[in-house]
Symmetry: C2
Subunit: 250 residues, 2 copies
DNA sequence: CGGGTAATTGAGCTGGTTCAATCTGAGTGG
DNA sequence: CCACTCAGATTGAACCAGCTCAATTACCCG
C-alpha cells in the first residue's frame, strides 16, 4: 500500500489556503499557523488508518486523496474522493478514533491541523466556518447520492454517476473542460469506488464507449460525449447535482 | 406515502432538548425559542422531500425518522435512521436544497429549527456545538460503515451489520436490553436500508434464526442470541463500533 | 529484453432478484 | 361471532447481472 512516487513532487508555493470555493490566508494571521502544517505526500501513501487515534483534520491543497474502509477479507470500499479545497474529518463519535482511512491517490499536498487548533480557527473566523460548512454539505450530498446508487443502482448506473460526479467536481477546479477530464485512477479505483470488480468496470466502460456515451484516451482521459444520455443512465440531473455537490463561493 | 396514524400520538411534555447524549434547555433561555418549534408527526409522514428548498434542521425528540433518496423508477434507499437526539441537516452545498428526504417511520416528535436560528444557537453555545459535532461524527461513521457493506458486503453481512448497529444505537436510549430490542420496521424498511429486496431480507433473517444467531418474536422483536457470531458475519467489532457510532456525554 | 502492472476479453457460476403462490394477523362491518 | 380485506411475511422456482477464474494484450520502466 505504501507506494513509491512515480514522479518527483513539485507544487507551486501556496499563497493561500482554499476551503471549498473560498480562499483564506492572504494577509490573515491564521495563515502563518497553517504554513508549518503543510506537507507533501507521494501517491498511494496512507495518511491515516481506519481505527487509529486521529485527532486532526486534513485539508487537500493539491492532488487527489481518497477516504476508504476495508472489510476483514481485504476488500476495499472508497467512501469519497477528496479534491483540492476538500477537508477530511475522520473523527468518529468518541472524538478520537478515525472512522475511515485516508490515502493519497496522486502525489498531493495537504495541510494537517490538530482538532483543537482547527476548532479554534473555526470559532475565530465565521467565513472559514461557513466555507467548511459548505464543504461538509457538499460531501453529505455526494455520499447520499452514492449510497443510493450503491444500494439500488446497476453497474451502469453507478459508473455513469461516478463519471458525472467527478466531471462536475473537476469543473470548478479548472480540470474539466467541456466534459473532458483526466482521472488519475485505475479501473480498480473506480471499482472500489462503485462497489464493483475492476473487470466489470472495464466491460461497462467499453460498453459506454461502444454506445457513444463517452470516449476514452490513454485509458483514463475521459470525454463525456452525450451527457444527457449518460445522466439518464445515472438517473441524475447534472444541473441540480452540480448545485448540490459543488461548494459555492458563498 | 402520507400515512395515517394507527394510534394516537401521546408523548410526555418535553423538559429539555437532547442532542446526542447531552441534554439542553433546563433553565436555558434558548429552550424557550425551541418550544414553539416542536411538532408531532404521524408515522409515514414525509417531513421534507429530496430537492425541496429546506433551510432548516430537524431534531428528533421521540420516535424514529429515516432519511432517504429515491431513484427515478421509484426504488428507495434509506440513508440513515434518526433516533431521539439525532439531528437531520439535509442542506446540500448550495445552502438551501435538501439532499435527501426525511420521513417519520413511527409517530414522532421533532423540533424544527430554521438554519439561521440554528447557526446562532450553535455560535452562542459551545456545549451545544460540541454535542452537535458528536452527533454528526457518529452519523459520518455510520455512513462509512454502511457504505462499506453496501459496496462490498453480502446480504448476510449487510443485515447482520444493520441489526448490530441498531442494537448498539438503541442501547443508550434504554430501548435495547441485553441485545433484545424492538424494531418499528417492516422487512421492506430493512431492505431499503440494506439495498436488498424484502424477500431476501426475509430469507436471510430466517437463516439467522435457523442458525441460532438471532431470535424473533412478533416479527420485529429481535434478540441477538450470539453476538460474536453475528459480528463475525457482519465483519464488525461491537465494542469499537459502539464507540464510533454512539454519541458520548462529552 | 525482461518483469510487472493495468486493461481487455471469454466462459461459466452464483447470490440475489423477480414473479408468484400461500399464509398470517389485525381491522372492519354486519 | 364470522366473513372480508389488506398489508406484511414466508416460501418456491426460474432467471440474470455481476462475479470468478483464466488467458491475452498493452504499456511502462530498468
Amino acid at each position: 500500500m505504501t507506494g513509491h512516487a512515480p514522479i518527483p513532487i513539485q507544487f507551486a508555493e501556496p499563497a493561500c489556503l482554499r476551503i471549498g470555493a473560498v480562499e483564506f490566508g492572504t494577509g490573515d494571521p491564521a495563515l502563518h499557523s497553517f504554513r508549518k502544517n503543510i506537507q507533501t505526500v507521494p501517491a498511494n501513501r496512507l495518511l491515516l488508518q481506519d481505527g487509529d487515534d486521529s485527532g486532526k483534520i486534513i485539508i487537500v491543497m493539491d492532488g487527489w486523496l481518497a477516504t476508504s474502509k476495508s472489510s476483514l477479507n481485504g476488500e476495499v470500499q472508497l467512501i469519497d474522493f477528496l479534491l483540492p479545497g476538500d477537508v477530511a474529518d475522520p473523527t468518529s463519535a468518541d472524538g478520537k478514533t478515525a472512522g475511515f482511512s485516508v490515502e493519497a491517490v496522486t502525489d498531493a499536498r495537504v495541510c494537517v491541523i490538530p482538532l483543537p487548533a482547527w476548532h479554534s480557527l473555526l470559532a475565530a473566523s465565521a467565513p472559514l466556518a461557513r466555507a467548511h460548512e459548505h464543504v461538509q454539505a457538499a460531501e453529505r450530498s455526494r455520499l447520499s447520492e452514492r449510497m443510493l446508487r450503491l444500494g439500488r443502482g446497476s453497474a451502469e448506473g453507478r459508473i455513469a454517476y461516478a463519471l458525472i460526479e467527478l466531471c462536475l467536481r473537476l469543473k470548478p477546479l479548472g480540470l474539466s473542460e467541456n466534459c473532458a477530464f483526466h482521472l488519475p485512477l485505475t479501473q480498480r479505483h473506480i471499482g472500489d469506488f462503485t462497489g464493483l470488480t475492476a473487470v466489470h468496470v472495464c466491460r461497462t466502460l467499453r460498453r459506454f464507449v461502444r454506445n457513444g456515451l463517452v470516449e476514452t484516451a490513454d485509458h483514463m482521459d475521459i470525454r463525456i460525449n452525450d451527457l444527457s444520455a449518460l445522466a439518464d443512465v445515472a438517473g441524475a440531473e447534472p444541473d441540480r447535482l452540480a448545485a448540490e455537490i459543488t461548494p459555492v463561493p458563498d
